[in-house]
């Protein structure tokens, strides 16, 4: 109990300094949690676009981005006929712009595509999709920022499209995108094939056989299961690495704050440490008080940071411009990892101060009375 008092007394003795250290860790944890969650959410959303009604994806091997992938049209027709394939849906990804909106994701799809079939139609219907002309279906948020509605014409890129419907999906990218019939999209983007083919197999256990067959017949293409794609897609890897790197830098800064606090803490109580030593405290006991202090700062900071991070995520979710893009699902494992990292950072920050404390000689510290 007095051991704990020794730790708390020192933290309470310099309340502002303690508060700043806890705040440093809290902001670091909040930043890491927010950045990682937002980017993981974004990756998850993009993955869900691909996995909509499908469990495999076929695209051009070795492309850095799916927007650059080019799957030949005959491949889709051929693959769709394979006995193990239930259905194959080509999707052409493109980026278009309109006035005031430099980036709008465009999905070139067929009328059979699950996005068109399974979406909630706010207005219009799927009947007119793929019936020729230049129809477009808008995601609900795209309709808002393009200020367009069903029955109107809307300028997108260098063309004008007739809005045949507005759909609502649970995916921010889809809600902010536009859907064009595949053939119209191919003309618009001057492509013959598609970016990817999403595949639903009759039997999920045929995944390996399917991949092998794609590899044999289309060496320039690659087939991956959805989870496999999420893990291996270089863009996702870069995003995730960036998120962890940014968060890690934040935590490192927080750790430096703890180190600074602990160094100051040790320097300002050299005499007190000498008194403890004279009274029989072993090095381990003195070091325990210092690590105890840093652990309390780190745990306090981590808990405050978790709360701050969750509040920030919910606040971001409510920002109209980000509507649908922020997924506030925080994985317990992520929370655990962030807390553990904060704790490790705090402990790392106390290593030098603890080593310094162990070297304090009572006779020298007590001489200056």
């Amino acid at each position: 109990m007095i051991f704990l008092r020794l730790i708390l007394v020192n933290l309470l003795r310099h309340k502002i300094r303690t508060f700043i250290s806890i705040a440093g860790i809290a902001f670091s944890v909040a930043a890491m949690l927010t950045v990682v969650t937002v980017l993981e959410g974004a990756v998850g959303m993009f993955s869900s676009i691909l996995s909509s009604g499908a469990e495999m994806i076929v695209f051009e091997r070795n492309v850095s981005d799916l927007f650059f992938s080019d799957v030949p049209p005959n491949a889709k027709d051929d693959i769709a006929r394979w006995p193990i394939v239930d259905h194959a849906d080509p999707v052409l990804f493109g980026v278009v712009s309109s006035a005031d909106h430099p980036i709008i994701t465009c999905f070139g799809v067929t009328a059979k595509d699950s996005r068109i079939r399974n979406a909630t139609w706010v207005s219009g219907s799927a009947d007119q999709f793929d019936k020729g002309g230049t129809p477009v279906v808008l995601g609900e948020r795209a309709a808002e920022f393009l200020e367009a509605s069903t029955g109107k014409d809307v300028p997108i890129g260098h063309g004008t499209f007739h809005v045949i419907g507005v759909i609502r999906t649970r995916n921010g990218f889809e809600d902010g995108g536009v859907f064009i019939p595949l053939e119209a999209a191919q003309r618009f983007f001057h492509k013959e094939g598609s970016s990817v083919i999403t595949i639903k197999l009759r039997n999920k256990e045929d995944a390996a056989a399917f991949k092998a067959q794609v590899h044999r017949q289309y060496p320039n293409l690659i087939a991956l299961e959805d989870a496999e794609f999420s893990r291996s897609y270089s863009q996702f890897k870069i995003l995730k690495a960036t998120a962890w790197a940014v968060g890690g830098c934040g935590l490192a800064l927080g750790g430096l704050g703890v180190a600074n606090t602990m160094i100051m803490s040790v320097f300002t109580r050299i005499r007190e440490i000498a008194i403890l030593r004279v009274n029989g405290f072993a090095n381990g006991q003195i070091v325990a008080t210092i690590f105890g202090e840093s652990a309390i700062v780190a745990i306090g900071g981590a808990l405050a940071g978790l709360a701050l991070g969750v509040i920030t995520l919910y606040a971001l979710k409510e920002v109209p411009a980000l509507h649908g893009y922020v997924d506030v699902t925080i994985h317990p494992l992520l929370m655990l990892v962030v807390v553990m990292l904060a704790l490790l950072t705090g402990i790392a920050g106390a290593v030098y101060p603890a080593a310094y404390a162990m070297r304090i000689k009572p006779v020298e510290a007590l001489r200056f009375e």
């Binding site: 109990m1 051991f3 020794l6 007190e272 008194i275 004279v278 009274n279 029989g280 009572p362 006779v363």
Partner: protein, 231 residues
């Protein structure tokens, strides 16, 4: 013929032989060949002008510092290599300083319990021991008081309680009454002497106060890092 009890009482507890201590690679010589023996239960006063080496001698005997040359033997074992100094500090020696060296943010009780915590003493036993010492020092109603709330005399009595918590055989006191007024100083010293006698503790005390020193069993006069005379 002496009884075992008398033999024990006459046994040498502290033995310092040819102690030298210097700093800055010999540039500053503080102790220049000190020999000292203290017997169980004996109260010894170290007198002498400032800088004569009294505090340094106490530090060497208490294991807070190492001699440049010579040996310190306590309870038959030489201090230094091979000896568990943490155990020594916890159980065999207690320190009292001129400026009491208490932790100001803790209460009197918490300060006194520090040695017991360090030694892993059971809380109930530690509290019982503290109660006994607090009663003997007249501090039983000050246990929950913070150090800032205590007078100079009370602080020094707290330091005495803390030093005796783990029942050490040796008490090293460096100017224990140096910061107190004459009246308080006399009372605190008398208390220290009484406790040392009743607890059977060997007291080695550095002091400038002649009247206090003469109340001890022996007075050693130090000059220029040597013990010059014994009264």
């Amino acid at each position: 013929m002496t009884t075992p009890a008398q033999t024990a009482a006459n046994s040498v507890v502290i033995s310092a032989a040819d102690l030298w201590k210097s700093y800055d690679q010999g540039a500053i010589a503080v102790l220049n060949g000190v020999d000292l023996e203290a017997r169980k239960g004996e109260a010894i006063a170290l007198c002498g002008p400032s800088g004569c080496g009294k505090s340094t001698l106490l530090h060497l005997v208490g294991g807070l510092d190492e001699p440049s040359h010579g040996t310190v033997t306590v309870n038959g074992k030489q201090l230094g290599r091979g000896r568990d100094m943490v155990y020594f500090m916890r159980h065999e020696v207690g320190f009292i300083f001129q400026l009491h060296n208490l932790i100001p943010d803790l209460t009197m009780e918490e300060n006194c319990l520090l040695p017991a915590i360090a030694a892993g003493m059971k809380r109930s036993a530690a509290l019982s021991r503290l109660q006994e010492l607090a009663e003997r020092t007249g501090l039983e109603d000050r246990l929950k008081h913070r150090i800032q709330k205590l007078s100079g005399g009370e602080r020094q009595r707290t330091a005495i309680c803390r030093a005796l918590m783990n029942r050490p055989g040796i008490l090293l006191a460096d100017e224990p009454t140096g910061s107190l007024d004459e009246k308080t100083s006399g009372a605190v010293f008398q208390l220290l002497l009484d406790l040392a006698h009743t607890e059977g503790v060997t007291l080695l005390m550095a002091t400038h106060d002649r009247s206090i020193a003469t109340a001890c069993d022996r007075v050693l006069e130090m000059h220029d890092g040597r013990i010059r005379t014994e009264c």
